[in-house]
Amino acid sequence: MADDKIIKGDPMNTDISDTGHGYEDRELTYYDDNVGGRAVFVDAKEQWGDEDPYPDTTILPERDKDMTPVLEVKNLGIDFGGLTAVDNFSLAIGRTEIAGLIGPNGAGKTTIFNMLTKVYEPTRGEIFFNSKSTEGMNTVDINKAGMARTFQNIRLFDKLTVEENIKVALHSYTDYHLLNAVFHSPKYRREEKRIHEEAMKMLELFEMTDVADHKAGSLPYGAQRRLEIMRALATKPRLLLLDEPAAGMNPSETAELMKTIKEIRDKFQIAILLIEHDMSLVMGICEGIAVLNYGRTIAKGTPAEIQSNPQVIEAYLGKSRGKMEEEEDIEKQDPEAAFKKGKVTSKVESRPDRAKPAADHAKGTPGKTDKKGKEIR
């Protein structure tokens, strides 16, 4: 990038050599050409003054605190019919943070991804991406603004080759129009050569050059996952959303993936938000973690804080026998209170919070519940 274009707060031009995060190693300066004019980061103070609407930067990594977070989500919620899938979800992600979103199955993690990328339109709340509201944007606009994602069920372009999958993702950076394409003009050849090189560079980085000509659908599972990440990266995002990147991988593959994710962050200088069930991965690389249960945020914090959070342990493992008995004692002493709480006192339930609320039945209103026994509001 030329000197005159330096904007305060741009991670590419900020001296971060003293952060101690190994960012000095920037041999692959992917953003240097600044193709497509991706938005650059702005100083939080400059943008908002003292009236920063989302000052929730408490769990951002120290190095990111001066800048506006790449993503700020406030009170996000979505209803499907009468069912509230996600409610009151707030989050801030620093510009070079690796953040995690965890929670039991059906907690609403993927729904949040879908809201961030506007596959679903949120019912409530606001999303600020790179200090700009995403209201009125669609999935395509979101990607163009600099958010890219992968999918829980791999979604590749199966009949295209590996290289083409990446070339497709580079389409916004391929600068020729339809007539050039139809007549294969010199401009077409120039641009095709350039994006071929760019795609090969990406493949090299992920050590997949040898399968460049293979059909994406014919790749083994792990390679497909990697290709999906590469495809998302090729759109040159500022925030990468990974939906269960380690699903179906063995421990050694997961360790490899962990390293890869870290490398991506370090080399591309981007923020990463990932959904994952593999705790070794989440606790190993995430700097901030949000825990969801039933669409509600039950905890936020660093991996250490999350690991010792009793609510999180409860959501994942159920209550300890000691605690349950303690509660039972209270209920015995005060049956009225237990009745109001709608608690089913059962030792068999490993996750008492998932039991059907008995209170509704008592009140005579048949409580509508979904498959997992959750109350529909």
Binding site: V119, N143, A148, F157, D158, L160, H171, A181, R231
Partner: protein, 380 residues
Amino acid sequence: MAERKENKAGAKRLRNIFFGNEYKKEATISYGILIVGYILLQLGANAGLIGRNLQGQFVPICVYISLAISLNLVVGISGELSLGHAGFMSVGAFTGIIVTRMMEASMPSGNVRLFFAVLAGAITAAIAGIIIGIPILGLRGDYLAIVTLAFGEIVRNIMNVLYFGLDGKKLKFAFNHTIDGVEGNQRIITGAIGATGVTKTATFTTAMLLTLFTLFVVLNLKNSKHGRCIMAVRDNRIAGESIGINVKKYKLIAFVVSAALAGMAGAMFGQNYSTLAPLKFNFNTSVLILVFVVLGGIGNIWGGILAATLLTILPEALRQFADYRMLTYAVVLIVVMICTYNPTIRARAGMVWEKISPRKRRKKKAEEAADHDETGKEEM
């Protein structure tokens, strides 16, 4: 020995040029079929080996091949079902006829008139494609098939009642007979009777040039940013949107380019007959073109070329069975579909292919040799 090595390297380079990747392979085969076919038919006709009846089919064959290639852009590459290709053909054909009739006085050269007819056909068909493409391409599912089917019928019905006449140099049109019978008025298109008195300007060579052009456009488009985006959206729409592909835009590009190419083919078709009725471009024609595409293998361009050629020649060759043509299509389509998706039949075909294919055979031989004689392996 060294010479042989050089030869081998040369052959390899040559192979790389023509069969290096999938696009090159497809282009080589498709262009090869067309050019070889053209030369053979031309030689055969000159030597008097091909009867007049079949010679009369040369231009329609080229036109149907063009249509099959252009429909493949929508059905195979974009993955949408279009049932109104004959509608675009009709728009192109009648536009072409009007243009040539208007130019007849001032332009003596038939080929120049033909060129402008084809150009005008492409433009009007593209406009028609944009008009129906914009409202429906945002929709998902079978809507495109339904609307394009309706479009084809609408065009046919409009052409059935449309009258065009030339009054001196002024072009007149109406939806009834009012422009008919006026002094000095030249009829161009007369409702259900269609166009009459067209000077035939299409030739086998020009028709083949158009077919080559169609092939050129579709193959080039496929191997470009636009083609990749179109195919990506076909393979996975949600993933396509997630990497910032404007789905509607790229579907529209495929649809309109296909419509324009169909219009060109239609214009060529119109210039091959002295009279042309709107009824020619009915639903059966749309289905016929779709049959070419399906029979050749959806997305397989050279397959479509062969299917179009075969299915145009066959009914002429078997004229006495022409009554059963539509029935035969249905049966053939069903059989082809069963065969292509039946794993047993596919496996059998694969085994047969392995026996026939020289490359596979050589490979197998080499493998066997390697198994038998591990030590005797020579360094290259």
